[in-house]
């Protein structure tokens, strides 16, 4: 069978790709488009490492077929920095040492960005519940939560 042609927007750029019907969006991001910023952890929707935004909605790219991306807008961790300027979340993850091995980090960044887009001033509890679908086996989460709260404060300040 011939491959499927999909037209989509990824990180602000119009992208077309060919895929097999069984391939997930994560497979295509990493293995076809070579956008390896998005990570594969469990592949079953439990760890959140593959988190992306689909039309602004946080989803696991491992639990979505690439064919479903037709006509949709996808945002990954690779669209967060502007050139050399890191997103405030990325900057605060560095400052707070909110990562060790780094595999979970892209998923946390994308998920945290989605949270702050709809709730610019979350409580610590809200951050923890929102990020419950992102697993980190290194940091123990406290530094991640601190980084998200610090980034939120900076982003609110920038807008004021």
């Amino acid at each position: 069978m011939s491959k499927r042609h999909v037209t989509t927007t990824i990180d602000g750029e119009g992208r077309e790709f060919l895929c097999e019907d069984w391939q997930t969006l994560l497979d295509v991001l990493r293995d076809v488009l070579m956008k390896t910023g998005t990570k594969e952890g469990c592949g079953t929707g439990d760890c959140g490492a593959c988190s992306v935004l689909l039309d602004g909605r946080l989803v696991c790219s491992c639990l979505m077929l690439a064919a479903e991306a037709e006509g949709r807008v996808i945002e990954t961790v690779e669209g967060m920095a502007e050139g050399d300027r890191l997103h405030p979340l990325q900057q605060h993850f560095l400052q707070e040492a909110a990562l060790q091995c780094g595999i979970c980090t892209p998923g946390f960044l994308v998920a945290a960005r989605a949270l702050l887009a709809q709730n610019p001033d979350p409580s610590e509890r809200e951050v923890r519940f929102w990020l419950a679908g992102n697993l980190c086996r290194c940091t123990g989460y406290d530094k991640i939560v601190r980084a998200v709260l610090a980034a939120a404060a900076e982003m609110r300040g920038a807008e004021a």
């Binding site: 639990l63 064919a67 479903e68 989605a114 679908g133």
Partner: protein, 294 residues
């Protein structure tokens, strides 16, 4: 495996009928894509239902609510009129998985996956939700209570799909609630889930009650004998204790790593009572709001 994304119900039913048992309908895909990955299911055709208008969107009409079977948990949570009318159904839908899963998982998928522990199902049964099914033989309406037969098994015919869920406008004095017990704070499968809806008179007398339990039998169960403990009386602590005892008596759970049979049986009563208390509180709040506004 091939993927199809039909734009109409006719097209979807046609594709599913043609492929027969080799086809599988998909809504959010959060259970199904995991089953494909593990090899638990090997369909030749996946029919994505999310592009069909009838399965999308929530309508809030004067008669009641229509929730598309493929609507995501996140969209359900954002629908304020639905949250206001049926808070128990909405809180149950929002308990399915993480934020990421909420972006995709649907009521139709949660029901058709037919897990005994599905969170939205006891709440929908308690609320008296009815689903619209469409298949090669036409359209029929079936209470949610009659859909799940056992683990992974439903009453749906071949090539039949769930289109939407209907809930009435709640009458005065109605309240519903869903409570779930899991071994940790977030992201786990229910040891017990309890959905309760009540309708109380302004005097506090209970006029109607439905109790449904998840994860304590091979399918989500409606426990009418527990509901009967409140009917026709003011639900005092004696009545609620009776409801709890009857809920525990109806439980026939498994023993597994999440909870022993004895523990699940006991928790079934505790949660049924707590859900009933919350539903009664909400029903009372509704009367209070009504008398304030008049």
């Amino acid at each position: 495996m091939e993927y199809a994304s039909p734009r109409s119900l006719d097209e979807a039913i046609g594709l599913l009928s043609q492929a027969g048992v080799d086809a599988r309908p998909m809504a959010g895909g959060t259970d199904l894509l995991v089953q494909l990955r593990t090899g638990a299911r090997r369909p030749e055709l996946l029919v994505d239902l999310k592009q069909i208008p009838g399965l999308c969107g929530i309508d809030c009409g004067s008669q009641g609510f229509r929730i598309g079977a493929a609507v995501s948990g996140a969209e359900i949570g954002e629908c304020l009129p639905l949250r206001e009318a049926w808070p128990g159904v909405v809180e149950a839908a929002e308990l399915i998985g993480s934020t990421q899963i909420q972006g995709r998982a649907s009521l139709g998928g949660n029901l058709c996956n037919a897990s005994p522990a599905a969170d939205s199902v006891p709440a929908l049964i308690a609320a008296g939700a009815v689903c619209t099914l469409i298949g090669p033989a036409g359209r029929r309406e079936v209470p949610v209570d009659d859909i799940v037969r056992g683990p992974g098994e439903t009453a749906l015919g071949e090539a039949e799909i769930i289109v939407d869920f209907r809930l009435p406008r709640p009458q005065d004095g109605t309240g519903d609630a869903y409570q779930r017990m899991i071994p940790r704070t977030e992201m786990d499968i229910a040891i017990v889930g309890a959905g309760v809806s009540v309708r109380v008179a302004e005097s506090g007398e209970c006029l109607a009650c439905r109790v449904a339990l998840g994860a304590v039998a091979a399918r989500p169960i409606r426990v009418d004998e527990a509901a009967a403990a409140l009917m026709g009386r003011r639900p005092d602590s004696e009545a609620l204790e009776e409801l709890a005892a009857r809920a525990s008596a109806a439980a026939d759970p498994i023993d597994d790593k999440r909870g022993t049979r004895a523990y699940r049986t006991r928790v079934a009563g505790v949660l049924a009572r707590r859900a009933a208390e919350e539903a009664l509180r909400r029903a009372g709040d509704r009367w209070a709001a009504r008398s304030q506004s008049s």
